[in-house]
């Protein structure tokens, strides 16, 4: 196990994303290469889960695209993620929000986490 940790540390390219949690609404800017050209595609949705550890950590983002739920799994340490913006902090009571898959419309909303002043 130590050896695997060592390998992961050696290969960490140091991509640093801002802190986010399941339930947050995020915009992931992902680099897409088409032939020679490279462009950036945004994927906006709610974070369903963060899973794995170390270099193989991933997170799942779910969005509704014209009435159809679309989920995408991103490697957290991928150098192809150009930017991650947290647009909304969600208030949720569990780490894996799979129950959202069965909900649509108003029921699928996530309460916003509000921060009171000091």
């Amino acid at each position: 196990m130590d050896a695997i940790k060592f390998v992961q540390e050696q290969n960490d390219q140091g991509t640093k994303l801002p802190d986010f949690r399941p339930g947050d609404n995020v915009i992931v800017s992902y680099r897409i290469r088409e032939g020679e050209k490279e462009r950036i595609q945004d994927f906006r949705g709610d974070v369903l889960q963060i899973s794995g550890e170390g270099l193989t950590k991933t997170f799942t983002v779910r969005k509704m695209s014209s009435g159809v739920g679309v989920e995408r799994i991103f490697p957290l340490n991928s150098p192809l993620i150009a930017e991650l913006k947290v647009t909304k902090r969600g208030k949720v009571r569990r780490a894996k929000l799979f129950y959202l898959r069965g909900l649509v419309g108003k029921k699928a909303r996530i309460k916003e986490r509000t921060f009171r002043g000091k």
Binding site: A3, V7, L55, N77, P79, L80
Partner: protein, 207 residues
Amino acid sequence: MNGIIGKKIGMTSIFDDKGRNVACTVVEAGPCVVTQVKNEDTDGYSAIQIGYGEAKEKNTSNQMLGHFDAAKTTPKRKVMEFRNFDALEKSLGDTITVDEIFAEGDKIAAVGTTKGKGFQGVVKRHNFRGVNDATHGQHNRQRAPGSIGAASYPAKVFKGMRMAGRTGGNRVTVRGLEVLKVYPEKNLILVKGAVPGHKGGFVILEK
């Protein structure tokens, strides 16, 4: 054939220069000790015998203890021979490390013993398709092999007919694996893709 004996540590994934997530296996390869050198004159062929992994003295036979003494080394758990080991001039008692044999980008073969799966049916063992339907008269036949031959002619089941039985635990060679990274300070080598066997199992890497 140049090679080294190692131990499978486990799998992980790294990102390559194009940002792709590449699955890879971490193998602790070596350091190995040369326990015997064979040549044309005395043995009729040229080969090198290397040992890997520390063994307890009480678990090593007296014959092997003498053999290791001759090479002035401690008892090793795994000993094997590589024919025509031409990478380097090595003599008795020398150590061989990963970086002496493998470099980044090399295509190598990995030999290991696959995970034992016990007594398995034909679907898992021989990739039979089974029955794709759970209804239409299927009661308990979904994973059955079906017919194993005709009737009074040939009146026997042909040898080699694929049936259920012990699965896994075979010696398997996987060729064409790429070396992604070599870490000589920790005796580690990173191989692209999967390597046969369970974690902690012996793996032979050949070039």
